[in-house]
Structure formats: structure tokens, C-alpha cells
Symmetry: C2
Subunit: 154 residues, 2 copies
DNA sequence: TAAAACCCTGGAGTGCGCTCCAGGCAAGCG
DNA sequence: CGCTTGCCTGGAGCGCACTCCAGGGTTTTA
């Protein structure tokens, strides 16, 4: 009934999903609104991804409606991961293009992935540095500010 | 010859209020271009930070030029850290406002910092998930060592 | 003392990643 | 049959975080 809209609720099971396959098995065809429900992306965004070339061609029904398949969901999964590394969409598009172009882009793809991995590692390190700062600051606040932390309830 | 870049991992050790470190000692007054060199931010950005209320008011010379002091650099340091957690500038402004407002915002500040810390931890976890995906994919590419695509596309 | 280098302001412009709009098919139902 | 729901398209619009510009003072160097 109300599967529409871009809201986020749905699965609130932590952040990082160790997903293996949480897909309605058997099926290999989904409408855009189903994909919205799966990915948390909006339909607008899904169509936009396609327009800019971030998606491999998505199948269409005989009336022109999108029919996503499992491989599309897998791809969106990867895109989602890359997205939260901060990789610009343009770079992902480049990667998608290389995939489409075939085997001779093999090495380039490999290198792009490795570069990305380096970036991710660097970002994790940065964040850990930030965490250290926050910890220090929080401890400082906690030590200095006696009038808190004793709030019974909650 | 600039010292820019934020690549310092676990610099400084002490945890607390005073934190003078690796700054042209003795001095406590810097022009905007010196701050640019220190922080890697542009002068535009520094002025913009001030306009939007992200900076406590910066001293001025008798002719109206900015004269940053060590406490300003410390603040910019924190801002830089928070920035790379992805915290929106608006939130940092809110924090800055609370600092200006005085002690009665103490608890709120504390909570904001803690919430931020939770976010950072979550983001680190996400990134580590992404790292795992990248590792798998890179290994796959490396192992295959030969054309073949299972990018979820064709 | 003149040129060069540096700094000031308010406001407009930019790039990114969406997000929304208007207008319009297609299918299911009551 | 009309109504509602779901999807389609191209293009305009938005929020964020800067970034740049015009026009004009000030400070330093030669």
C-alpha cells in the first residue's frame, strides 16, 4: 500500500549490513518503488543515476517502465558503498563506463579500486584522529562539568 | 615551504584546555595569509566562517585587518576535525553559538559532542565495511588476472 | 613616493548531488 | 466509464560549502 516516498525507516538494523542476500528470492525483477524500498534511494535519484550513466542499462517492461534485476541491485549496493567513501559521482560514472567498455579497461579499473582503497584507509585514519580529539574534549567536559552525568533516568 | 595539510595523526598528547603546539612560538598574532598557510583554508573561507558566525570574533588591527590569535587557530583546528567528520557547518555554528552563550549551554555542548562521537564511530564502521567490499573486489580482480567481468553488469 | 603586495566588504557565482515540477501514458477497480 | 495509482520524461530548482568579483583602502618595498 504505502511503499512510496523517500523515507528512511524500513530496516533499522544497524548501519553496516553484512548482507549476503536479503532479496525476495526467486524473483529477478523489481519495479522502481521496490528498489526504492531496498536501497533507500529515491526514485528520482535512481532515474538520475541512469541519466548520468551511473547505471548499466536497466531493462524496461513492454510499456517502458523500469524493471530492475538482481545484478542492478548488486551494482547499486556497490555504488552505495563507494558513495559513502565520499567518492564523487563522476568517478563512479567513469568506473561504470569502464565496465561497459569491456576487458581492456581491466587494469584501469583495478587501479581505481586500489586508489579508492587507499583513500578509504586514509579517511579512516583521519576519523580516528578526530575521534581522539573528541574523546579528549568529552573527557574534559565530563571532568570539568560536575553538574551532569548524574541524571538518573534516561 | 608551507606547513599546510591536515595529515597529523595523533599529534599532541595532553588533554585539556591549553594546547599550544608547533606554532611560531612567542607570537600570538597572525595575518589572514599566515592562517591560510597554517590551515590550508582559503582566505575567502576564513572570512566566510566569520560572516556566518563560525568564528568567535577575531581581533582587528587599528586599520581593520584581521589579527588571528592562537586560540583562533585552536578553534580552526577543531573545526577542521569536525569538518572531516562530515558535520554540517550549520551544526558547528550552533556549537560556536553555545560556546559564546556561556556556561548554561554546557550540557547541550556535551551532548552534541557525544552525538558527534557516535556518528564518527558509525562512519568508521561503515568505511570498514566498504573496505571489506573493496578488498574482496580487488582480490577478485587480482586473482582473475584475466578479463572477465562479474560487475553485476555485463 | 610610487608601485607592488596585501587586505577589506557585500554580493554574485559555482559545482555537486540530488529534488521537484509539469504534463502525460498505462493499468486496475468499482 | 471515470478515478486512482504508479510510472514516465526533460528540465528547472535547491541547499550546501565554498569561491570569486568589483571596487577600494593599507602596508611594504624599491
Amino acid at each position: 500500500m504505502t511503499v512510496m516516498e523517500t523515507t528512511e525507516p524500513g530496516t533499522d538494523t544497524c548501519a553496516g549490513p553484512p548482507r549476503a542476500t536479503r532479496r525476495p528470492d526467486g524473483r529477478d525483477q523489481y519495479t522502481i518503488s521496490e528498489v526504492v524500498a531496498f536501497t533507500g534511494l529515491s526514485a528520482h535519484t535512481l532515474r538520475w543515476y541512469e541519466r548520468i550513466g551511473l547505471m548499466p542499462h536497466v531493462d524496461r517492461s513492454h510499456t517502458g517502465q523500469r524493471r530492475y534485476r538482481n545484478r542492478d541491485l548488486d551494482w547499486l549496493d556497490l555504488v552505495g558503498k563507494l558513495r559513502l567513501t565520499g567518492m564523487p559521482v563522476a568517478d563512479m560514472v567513469r568506473y561504470a563506463e569502464m565496465v561497459r567498455e569491456g576487458d581492456h579497461t581491466y587494469t584501469d579499473r583495478f587501479e581505481l579500486l586500489e586508489a579508492t582503497r587507499r583513500d578509504v584507509r586514509a579517511r579512516i585514519a583521519e576519523l580516528q584522529g578526530t575521534l581522539a580529539v573528541l574523546d579528549r574534549k568529552i573527557n574534559f567536559y565530563a571532568d570539568a562539568g560536575r553538574p551532569l552525568a548524574s541524571e538518573g533516568s534516561r
